[in-house]
């Protein structure tokens, strides 16, 4: 289904099911009490948490300002930011409208509150950006891109904003951001380079490839490795010779290092050292082999979801996120249970994007609701489960509450 149809369908469903926040007087009193529970610093943390969850479930638009503050300010020394982020997601468009003002620095009340509570403005932007990405709201792209271009007198803050905003733009599959992301992907900060590279990979296309190739040759080994990873997630079969050159360059660096520092670990046996050190990244080349074989063929990439190499499976997920529609989305639900955490993460992020933009995908997803719920239940209070809990909750919400897709008003799939 065309994304614009999603808007229409979403609007219809909102009409049928009632507008969020249309409450009876009694419900209004309950809402006030719930807002009070999260605004009153003396209210118990459990009560505040429950109130946040109930306000989200009730899609209570009046709670948006208080929930936004919870993204930044702990309650009794504990953060309720993840709970508040999900409640804002459930509330949908009213949240998005408010958060857009935050990332544009057009919410003077919040800015004054932040100044009084020692909350850095950079933090205002980044946490709002993250929830806008949860919401899949394409209106966020322009203001977030402006933030990505912003320079700060404080380099640490600038890197922090770049990391978080790049991640949000990647999750929004923001094509207009590619040029700026490409400029940033050679940054020397490892976490920032990683986030920028992941954003380019999620957005897809070859526009970012030359920059990622440069990143594969710039900086320390940890930094270059990020570039090598990105190159093989974006490149095609024709890029295999370039990848071989990169591998040779890495081998030359190791050889030169061993010549300069014979005491380095493993240098006494270079023939054994090279395959040991480069074995894993050489394996990245299998993704390019898969790209050579599949090109833009969705069934071929679907078959790659069964590949023994997690990197190939992750690449397949990314390709399907860019190309699959309707029933073709079905295997991604299975990939959301992949044993490899990176593949699972790519799959749940792909599903979030697809469900926000493709009613056909939402229809296909209905039958996966029990399995997704079971997956959430299995992961309760385990670290691995927690990592995927928020996106799984959002996926389930989009499947159960079709109007949730309406926040993605003009989403476009990259070609």
């Amino acid at each position: 289904m065309h994304p614009r149809s999603t808007v229409v369908l979403g609007a219809l469903l909102v009409t049928v099911t009632g507008l969020p926040g249309t409450a009876t007087p009694a419900a209004g009193a309950t809402t006030d009490a719930r807002i009070q529970a999260i605004e009153d610093p003396s209210s118990p943390i459990a009560a505040a948490k429950k109130a946040v969850e109930e306000l989200g479930d009730a899609e209570e638009a009046r709670a948006v300002p208080a929930l936004i503050k919870l993204l930044y300010e702990p309650h009794q020394g504990r953060t309720l930011a993840p709970e508040a982020a999900f409640a804002l997601f459930e509330i949908g468009k009213p949240s998005a409208d408010a958060l857009l003002k935050v990332v544009q620095s057009k919410d003077p009340d919040l800015q004054a509150w932040a100044a009084a509570h020692h909350v850095a403005e950079a933090l205002l932007w980044t946490e709002a950006a993250s929830v806008l990405a949860d919401l899949g709201d394409p209106r966020a792209q322009a203001p977030l891109l402006r933030l990505l271009r912003d320079r700060s007198a404080n380099p640490q803050l600038e890197l922090f904003v770049q990391r978080r905003v790049a991640s949000a733009l990647g999750r929004l599959h923001s094509r207009p951001a590619v040029d700026r992301l490409a400029e940033l992907v050679t940054v020397d900060d490892m976490q920032a380079r990683h986030e920028v590279e992941r954003a380019l990979v999620q957005i897809g296309g070859r526009a970012g490839l030359p920059a990622v190739e440069r990143a594969a040759g710039a900086g320390s080994w940890e930094l270059r490795q990020i570039g090598l990873d990105g190159f093989t997630m974006l490149g095609g079969g024709a890029d295999r010779p370039a990848f071989q050159k990169m591998m040779q360059r890495e081998a030359d660096i190791i050889t030169a290092d061993c010549r300069a520092h014979p005491g380095y670990v493993g240098c006494h046996d270079q023939p054994a050292l090279l395959p040991k050190m480069l074995g894993r990244v050489r394996g990245f080349g299998r993704r390019l082999d898969a790209a050579a074989r599949c090109g833009q063929d969705v069934p071929c990439w679907t078959a790659r979801l069964q590949d023994g190499d997690p990197g190939v499976r992750e690449r397949a997920v990314l390709e399907l996120a860019r190309r699959a529609t309707g029933k073709q989305v079905d295997p991604l639900f299975t990939a959301a249970g992949d044993p490899d955490a990176a593949v699972r993460l790519a799959a749940v992020q792909a599903l979030e994007w697809l469900l926000a933009n493709d009613a056909g995908a939402r229809a296909v997803g209905q039958r996966h609701i029990p399995a997704l719920e079971a997956s959430r239940a299995r992961g309760q209070d385990t670290v691995g489960g927690a990592r995927f809990d928020a996106p799984l909750r959002r996926i389930l919400h989009r499947l159960r509450v079709p109007r949730a897709a309406a926040t993605a008003t003009t989403g476009r799939r990259p070609a």
Partner: protein, 592 residues
């Protein structure tokens, strides 16, 4: 002084005293008995020698704000609770520590950089029969120095011993990567620990002989430096499926691993913990338990047997211990994720161990709700767990750092009998979290995101009990211990900012029981490069945190020298001992 302490120790019924009594009654473990060890023989011999009776192996602040252990500093951070407090200081007071009456007394030349806190034992009878207050300092050149602590003219060490050829730093490097953490050589990087009952110093030296590296445990006579037991090379295996395992077994790699945590001597067992050099993969957190009398290995634990990382760093401190167990804090790495067998991953974990038979078992653990973010942002759990005396609480630090701290509190306060494991929501965690670093943005209104506290100190005054910290780009601060946690509003804040781009704020405290508290802290200055930065030492009134003295007030006289990471000041016997990276031990005290 020793006579009175012996009486008090007997009344306290320390485990060591009970053991000695049993030995005496049964005459079964006296010197020369067929089952006795050299350490047994030392204890038996020294038990009749009043010069050696200087406390048990769980010495230090007993939490009641009283001087314990006869004024000895036998382990890093002063005691096994890692309080960082020396409560036997009768000479240095807020009244006399000032630029007119306090300053550099003398300097001792060493043979390498120092990365650890010096130790101190009073009244040690040396081989020649004389008694000395002795300060012990170890270097990355693998040398242990023992100096007379009181005589400024005694520049020649009472003894020194080089424990082997140190490892050139390049020999732990790997091609394509570089590491300048400890340069130019790696030797003794973790503080030793001393059992004064047996007069034994336990120390681990990293050595390289004929191209082969090892971490070697020595048990040295504190009087002479002679070995009391044959040295033992650390080694071990552990079941696991990590990338460096072979057929389901991990083998300790002495090249990859770095024993930076201070040693822990607890209940007759010596604990040694390892981490990485510069996170060069593959590495794990390894914890070894050895019988202190024989150096026979009792047990081994790997924090991440099926994954990677989980190094036990401890920020210059060591594992902590109380009667119910041993506490470790593991840095970033893999952790239990519900898809692997239980207890398979304790990266980024505060854990509690018990030695049960020949196994070290993790009996409780805490992983923060935002562990993924902490791992990604390299916000290691890295400091030792400070066991808050007279409470059931411990406090440990996260390197908050790279995200605005409202989102990543830097101190966790946990009840020692229930860590709560992992919860996806912080609202459900047992741990209380407190922001110790610049909680009100007064030190750094621009919010530089580099505010990390690395060290904590506990002090119980007559009025209250406090935890002190001095984070990067922050003032020194004191927080009150209140109920089941810390009051997040500081009870005292100083005015000196630890402006730094690297590890800083090495704090220790001296007091005379509950009085005359002075917080001592060293920070790096003049350069953002930790290898060229200089050191500035401060003394603060522990009550108010107002500056009493600092080494730049009379720089020509009191300059410390090049910054030594993790070289905490040790205060004892009226002196402040601070090592630097210029291969020197600076000794400060009253000038007149």
């Amino acid at each position: 002084m020793w006579e009175s302490m012996r009486g008090r120790r007997a009344s306290l019924g320390s485990k060591r005293s009970i053991w000695l009594s049993a030995c005496a009654a049964l005459a079964a473990c006296s010197a020369g008995s067929k089952n006795s060890t050299p350490i047994d023989q030392r204890v038996a011999a020294l038990s009749a020698d009043d010069s050696s009776d200087q406390g048990g192996d769980d010495r230090g602040d007993d939490g009641d704000g009283r001087c314990e252990a006869g004024g000895a500093v036998t382990t890093s951070r002063n005691d096994n609770a890692r309080t960082g407090a020396y409560l036997c200081e009768s000479q240095l007071t807020p009244a006399n520590v000032n630029v007119n009456s306090f300053g550099l007394l003398y300097t001792r030349n060493l043979d390498g950089k120092v990365y650890v806190q010096p130790l101190f034992v009073p009244n040690v009878k040396t081989a020649r029969g004389a008694k000395h207050d002795v300060v012990y300092v170890v270097t990355e050149h693998d040398t242990v120095f023992a100096f007379d602590a009181q005589d400024p003219a005694a520049s020649t060490p009472l003894w020194s011993r080089t424990l082997g050829p140190s490892v050139p730093s390049a020999d732990v490097g790997i091609p394509g990567r570089s590491c300048n953490d400890i340069t130019p050589e790696i030797g003794i990087s973790g503080a030793p620990t001393i059992d004064v009952d047996s007069g034994t110093m336990y120390v681990v030296a990293k050595v390289e002989e004929n191209g082969v590296q090892n971490h070697r445990i020595f048990a040295l006579d504190i009087r002479t430096g002679a070995s009391l037991l044959p040295p033992v090379d650390i080694g071990g295996t552990y079941p696991g499926t990590a990338s460096d395992s072979v057929n389901g077994v991990l083998t300790f790699d002495p090249v990859r691993h770095n024993i930076r945590a201070s040693l822990l001597l607890h209940d007759g067992t010596l604990y040694v913990a390892a981490t990485s050099h510069c996170d060069f993969p593959p590495w794990h957190g390894w914890i070894f338990a050895y019988d202190a009398k024989t150096l026979r290995q009792k047990a081994v634990l790997v924090t991440t047997p099926d994954g990677a990382g989980g190094g036990v760093w401890q920020s210059g401190g060591g594992l902590s211990a109380d009667d119910s167990g041993v506490y470790f804090v593991a840095g970033n790495g893999t952790y239990e994720d519900g898809t692997v067998k239980p207890q398979s991953g304790f990266g980024q974990t505060i854990g509690k161990l018990q030695l049960q038979g020949n196994q070290l078992n993790v009996v409780d653990w805490f992983i923060p709700y935002n562990v993924d973010l902490q791992n990604f942002e390299d916000a290691d759990l890295a400091s030792p767990a400070l066991l808050i005396p007279h409470t059931n609480l411990l406090v440990a630090l996260s390197r908050g750092g790279r995200v605005p701290l409202k989102q990543m509190a830097d101190a966790y306060v946990l009840p020692r009998d229930n860590f709560g494991h992992f919860h996806a929501s912080q609202a459900d965690e047992v741990a209380e979290t407190v922001l110790l670093s610049d909680p009100d943005d007064t030190a750094d209104p621009t919010n530089s995101l580099l505010q990390r506290a690395y060290a904590l100190v506990h002090f119980r005054t007559e009025k209250d009990a406090r935890i002190y910290s001095w984070a990067q780009n922050d003032f020194p601060r004191a927080f009150g211990i209140q109920g089941t946690g810390l009051n997040p509003v500081p009870v005292a804040t100083g005015t000196a900012i630890a402006k730094s781009a690297t590890v800083t704020g090495m704090i220790s405290l001296s007091a005379n029981n509950k009085k005359n508290g002075i917080l001592w802290g060293s920070i790096n200055v003049d350069s953002t490069d930790k290898n060229t930065a200089k050191t500035q030492l401060f003394a603060f009134d522990a009550a108010t945190l107002q500056t009493l003295w600092d080494s730049r007030q009379n720089q020509a006289r009191d300059e410390v020298g090049t910054w030594g990471k993790w070289a905490y000041p040790t205060v004892a016997g009226g002196k402040v001992f601070l090592a630097n990276a210029d291969a020197q031990l600076r000794v400060y005290g009253l000038l007149h």
